[in-house]
Each structure stands twice: as structure tokens, then as C-alpha cells.
Amino acid sequence: MIKNGKLLRIFYSKPRSVHNNMEREITATKELIVNMGPQHPATHGVLRLVLDVDGERIIKCTPYVGYLHRGIEKLSEDLTYVQALPLTDRLDYLASAANNIGFCVAIEKLLGLEVPPRAKFIRTIMGEMARICSHLVWIATHALDIGAMTVFLYAMRDREVFLDLFEMVTGARMTVSYPRVGGVDVMLTTNFLINCINLLKHFQKKLLSMRP
């Protein structure tokens, strides 16, 4: 509503037609139930949302989950700790090293194992790199949904550097299974360390390039 030239409040309103009541009824918005089904370009992964929508405003949202329930809990009942470790990779597949760390820490607590400090440092490095990968995918897909495709391409390009680093050490790009019970799988290579330090020098600039 614009009064005296200033925008006072934005009304989400039905059109005002003083003269014609019928016109007001016909053009008034009604509530609509929209099913944003499990397949939708914006639901990254499968999530079904049933939305009560009034015009473009969402009034109520009921999520339905379970479309990716794979039975990992039931499956890992029959497996040893080492066999169950790759299953934990696939829980949050964007940051797999972090899931492995959680699993290994729980087992080490139960067994009363103490992890050597070097392994703790390596796990932290891997965990943080995994977190950065996950956040890059978040920002890429978030921007893609809004329409900013460039950020998607920039973030995925930056992510490739991290995935190359993972592959250098563990052999896998995404689902690493690198932290093991009692430490890590293999020692980091010199190649990895050199490239990681290089990455640290340049990454902040790359992040800032994604800003408008």
C-alpha cells in the first residue's frame, strides 16, 4: 500500500473492487493443495511435501519421508565393525568422512581404545574437508534452485579439487571409508600434503569469487 509516496506495508490481499462484489469473489484466491512429489528438481534427494498453498504463500507443509530408507540399521546387525563402515559412508553421502569418524569414535569409546594423536589430526583434516565439500554442494544447489547457475558451476569446480585430494589418499572420490577403528586407513602422502597446503592458500579467494 503506497501512501504519500512511501511503501507502508505490502498487503497480501484480494483485489479490492468496490463496485463489484461478484468480481471480488471470482478473482479471490482459494487454498490449493499441491503435491511436491518425491521427484522434483528442487528436492535434492527424495522428499515428498504436501503443501497447502494460498496464491504463492505456503500455509501448511506436511513432509513425507522414507523414500530412501535402505535398512542400514538392520543390515549392520549381521556385519562386523569393518564391514559396516562403508555403510556409514552412505548415510550422509556428501560428507562421508565425517560419518565414518562418528562411527569409529563410538566403537572406540565402547572398546576403550585410544587413538594416536597423529590419527586424530588426520581425521580432523579429513572431516573438515568433507564438511567443506558438503557445504559447497549446499551452496551450489541452493543457488541453482534460485536460478544462479554460475555459482553451481563455480562450487562444483572448487569441489573437484577436494575430491582429487580424497582420491589421492583413499582411492575414492566421495564415499571414502578412510577413518577406521583405532585410527585411519593409510598415512597421508606427501603429494596430498603439498596440494592441501596449496589449496589453503587459494581457496578463500575462490570462495569470495562466489559472492555477488
Partner: protein, 174 residues
């Protein structure tokens, strides 16, 4: 092959069935070949990423391993696409929806099963997982891997293009 000059007015056979008249800037080919060239050079998949393989599919579509150079544009709606790349684990709860989407695609339609879970259930031989999407859909290309590297996905797509090339030109009833 003989030297092809730009001023030749005779048709020159460059490939089996494809003739080129250089002076007239013309290519002569049977309709079947033309159609299959068009189909395989502009594959439009429907975005159907379910789990971890979807992230590798996104990485393949990004700038490092470009998919756009193959003519691949991801379409949101199954009505506008011709292939469904099933990337990720298919659960029994999700199966009816996949069947629905498959029927919404217009013919000729294809299915690529990407990743071990779509090919055969993968690691997850559990009560809720379908052991391979080919139990209820006709699959054309299987791409194994957990997740398959982007190069593997590209290899699968190239094989898919070869498949389209060799298909006879008749109504594909699927």
C-alpha cells in the same frame, strides 16, 4: 579415401550410407540415420537423482566433466525428456512413483541404471530395497560403480549413444 576438394560436385561417401556433396554444401543420408544422429546427439535426461550417485551425476554435469558438450540438458519434467538416469538406491516405497514417471515419458524412452544400487541393489540387500531397477523397468545401459566415477558415467552415455546409433528405425515399443 580420395582427397575431398571443396569444389567437387559429385557425392562422396564419407560413411556407410552418408554422402556429401562438398560444392553444394549438402549431406545426403537416409532418414533413419538422420533421426538416430539427432536422437543420440541431444539426449535429454529427466533429473532423477535419488542418493549418492546423484551427486556424481551433478559433478559430471558441472564444468569439469561437462555433459553439455554431448548435448545433454537435464529437464525437470519427464514429459520433456527421453531418458531417465536412475541414479541411486531404489526403495520399494519409491517404486510406484518411478513407474509413474516412466509412463509419463514420451516414446522413444530409455532407462540408464547408474550405480550398483540401481543395477542390482548394491550393498543393500534389505527388506526395503529393490534389487535392481530392472525388476520392473526395461533398462538399456547399466553403469556399475559405487558411485561410478564421472568418466564411467560418460562411458555409459557414449555406449548409450552407440546403442541409439545401431537401433533400427521403427516404432520403439517399450
Amino acid at each position: 579415401m580420395a582427397l575431398i576438394l571443396d569444389t567437387l560436385t559429385e557425392p562422396v561417401e564419407v560413411e556407410e550410407g552418408v554422402k556429401v556433396v562438398p560444392a553444394a554444401n549438402t549431406i545426403i543420408m537416409p532418414i533413419a540415420k538422420l533421426a538416430s544422429w539427432g536422437k543420440r546427439s541431444s539426449i535429454w535426461p529427466v533429473t532423477f537423482g535419488l542418493a549418492c550417485c546423484a551427486i556424481e551425476m551433478m559433478a559430471t554435469g558441472a564444468s569439469h566433466y561437462d555433459l553439455d558438450r554431448f548435448g545433454i540438458i537435464f529437464r525437470a519434467s519427464p514429459r520433456q525428456s527421453d531418458v531417465m538416469i536412475i541414479a541411486g538406491t531404489v526403495t520399494k516405497k519409491m517404486a510406484p512413483i518411478i513407474v509413474n514417471l516412466y509412463h509419463q515419458m514420451a516414446e522413444p524412452r530409455y532407462v540408464i541404471a547408474m550405480g550398483s544400487c540401481a543395477c542390482s541393489g548394491g550393498v543393500f540387500n534389505t527388506y526395503s530395497t529393490v534389487q535392481g531397477v530392472d525388476s520392473f523397468l526395461p533398462v538399456d545401459v547399466y553403469i556399475p560403480g559405487c558411485p561410478p566415477r564421472p568418466e564411467a558415467l560418460l562411458d555409459g552415455i557414449i555406449k548409450f549413444q552407440e546403442l541409439i546409433k545401431q537401433e533400427p528405425y521403427k516404432q520403439r515399443k517399450r
